[in-house]
């Protein structure tokens, strides 16, 4: 007889969809509490080698799962995510549970409230397993900037999972959670989703409340889901989206049933392909996979046409000025007074501020605070910060014009597949260029989905970015579903296909 533990881990050998898990939980074949325990067993086995979770919220998870099981036993109604095990990027605060933002300066910090996105997940029945590793204050594209060590990519542990939401992407890829939350300021959901071979969603700015998100750049920061498939990611978005009195920038626009939207098919949608995203710097193997994905969209009935977004090449410089300026202001709050680390070696208030900050922040965070402070300082404000905001308008208007002619825009999510740990960590500028295809949508505030789209010859996942205009997440999901369907078909139809299949998690 297999032990209870073996039975539990056998159940998780392959990631399951929400629909399959829901059926098992509602029919009482599987208890939500047992499902949570199975995930904790997997985490115990695997997390040591991948460094995905920073902290587990075991008591909270089991209590929530038992509430779901009780409700099911009594025949009471349960939420759309009843019993679904999820993980939360550590930049989103969780009441009473350490929330560090990947920084030493917040080591051990236990916030007195929950982020809105987290409380909405729990209100829908989700079981929060723990907090996920990320680049410090969400600043990075490889997860190597975490004060708690890098996350390793489950597909190839010698490689980065992307960043800054590396833990959120890797957790889904390694099946250490069914879905996760991440945040995206310049690509921090989309690029790691692409590197780990999972689905990641950039909601429209204002679609999901930022309350309880430890701020990096307030005009750019977004909260969004990761999942193993498009429909589940869409389901999570419907749960976390919507107006929140605690975030004045959250939109009152009605929240759609995005999963149902995604079922509508992509037939007849007009798709734009911007040549600027296929130029120098794009890995030919990535290009080939994206071209296959575009061909699949044509097969699905989409009308594909070339479009021009000529300001694209100015997006990285504009982004790094706007984002660092806002960061330098947001991170002023970490001063050793109200929470977090205080340097013991200071006799004056001023020394206490600067010693606490210098000892608490890592190198990349300091670099960005310095760049942002410089760009905002007297004599440089007009030349840098104001100039960048003007370019931001040009980029945003260019997208609005494009969306007059097309329903969605498709591009590679990143110029390469996952790179090796250490490959770019010595060169900040080279690292910034990893975001070259994602920062444009960040500046414009539009929405997008990244969906797995083939793999390189080495089996590293490639992601396609599907962008749609403000509040048109449903359209992005429809296109992403079509790309996903073509992938599934290809993987099912043996190895004579010209396209490569991703390796999948080694765990």
């Amino acid at each position: 007889m297999p032990s209870e533990t073996t039975q539990r881990s056998n159940y998780l050998e392959k990631p399951k969809t929400f629909a399959a898990l829901r059926e098992d939980i509602l029919s009482r074949r599987v208890k939500a509490a047992d499902l949570a325990l199975s995930y904790y067993e997997r985490i115990e086995q695997i997390n040591g080698s991948l460094n995905i979770y920073l902290n587990l919220t075991r008591d909270r998870a089991i209590a929530q799962a038992e509430r779901v099981d009780d409700a099911v036993a009594k025949g009471d109604p349960v939420g759309p995510l009843a019993g679904i095990p999820v993980g939360i990027k550590d930049v989103l605060v969780t009441r009473g549970a350490p929330s560090t933002a990947g920084s030493k300066i917040l080591k051990g910090y236990k916030p007195p409230y929950d982020a809105t996105a987290v409380s909405r997940l729990e209100a829908a029945g989700a079981v929060v397993l723990g907090k996920l590793n990320c680049d410090e204050f969400a600043m990075g594209s490889s997860n190597e900037n975490s004060a708690y060590g890098p996350v390793r990519n489950p597909v190839d542990p010698e490689r980065v999972p992307g960043g800054s939401s590396g833990g959120s992407a890797a957790a889904v890829a390694a099946n250490l959670a069914v879905a996760t939350l991440g945040t995206d300021t310049g690509g921090s959901i989309r690029q790691p989703a692409s590197f780990c071979g999972v689905v990641g969603v950039l909601p429209t700015y204002g679609r999901v409340s930022r309350y309880g998100l430890i701020a990096f750049a307030s005009s750019l920061d977004r909260v969004g889901p990761f999942a193993s498939n498009v429909r589940d990611a869409a389901t999570v978005l419907s749960v976390i989206a919507g107006q929140d009195p605690s975030d004045a920038t959250s939109s009152t626009a009605p929240v759609a049933d995005y999963a149902a939207e995604s079922d509508k098919g992509a037939d007849g949608l007009r798709i734009g392909v911007p040549e600027e995203y296929f130029g120098e710097g794009l890995d030919p193997e990535v290009r080939e996979q994206i071209e296959n994905g575009i061909a699949a969209l044509k097969t699905a009935g989409c009308k594909v046409q070339p479009i021009a977004l000529p300001h694209t090449r100015f997006a990285i410089p504009a982004y790094y000025l706007v984002a660092t300026a806002e960061a330098s202001a947001n991170l002023a709050r970490f001063d050793g007074v109200r929470y977090g680390y205080r340097s013991p070696s200071s006799n004056t208030l001023s020394d206490m501020y600067s010693h606490s900050r210098d000892e608490g922040f890592g190198a990349e965070v300091k670099r960005r605070i310095m760049l942002g402070t410089y760009a905002l300082s007297a004599g440089y404000y007009d030349a840098y910060y104001l100039k960048a905001q003007k370019v931001r308008r040009l980029l945003a208007e260019e997208f609005l014009r494009a969306f007059a002619d097309v329903d969605a825009i498709v591009t590679p999510t990143a110029p390469t597949a996952a790179f090796k740990i250490g490959e770019k960590s010595g060169d900040p500028l080279a690292m910034y260029l990893a975001d070259i295809y994602t920062v444009t949508a960040s500046l414009a505030g539009i929405c997008g989905v990244t969906v797995p789209c083939g793999a390189t010859k080495a089996g590293l996942p490639v992601g396609m970015q599907v962008l749609a205009s403000h509040m048109n997440e449903g359209t992005a999901f429809r296109v992403a579903r079509a790309v996903e369907a073509a992938q599934v078909q290809e993987q099912g139809s043996s190895c004579n296909s010209a396209s490569q299949s991703p390796r999948g998690s080694q765990f």
């Binding site: 409230y113 007074v337 200071s346 004056t348 605070i369 310095m370 760049l371 410089y374 931001r392 500028l429």
Partner: protein, 103 residues
């Protein structure tokens, strides 16, 4: 906007940002900031004289409506004891900091 950031400028900016950089950190910051600023200087190629700055995107989004200010009503705040328990130094009511004024 092409510029050459000096060591003295880096020290001045560090002071503004309340960062107490070591000499090594200051050295690498001079190098990194110059590399990044050289790169962003390409924005100069764009003529933006007639362009209004865009600070945030809500105005572009037709689904997002002009919102009146919320009513000014009293609602519960965070629990004081819970908040104070996270402070590095507090007497329960106030945050305690090193002496501000020497006398």
């Amino acid at each position: 906007m092409s510029s050459n950031v000096t060591k003295e400028e880096v020290e001045r900016v560090a002071e503004l940002a309340h960062l107490n950089l070591t000499p090594e950190e200051t050295g690498s910051m001079v190098h990194d900031l110059n590399a990044i600023l050289d790169y962003v200087a390409q924005l100069d190629q764009l003529d933006t004289t007639m362009v209004e700055p865009l600070a945030q995107v809500s105005e572009l989004n037709s689904a997002s409506e002009a919102r009146p200010l919320r009513d000014d009503v009293i609602s519960p705040s965070l629990d004081r004891a819970e908040v104070m328990s996270e402070a590095p130094d507090s007497n329960g009511s106030f945050f305690r900091v090193p002496k501000v004024i020497e006398r």
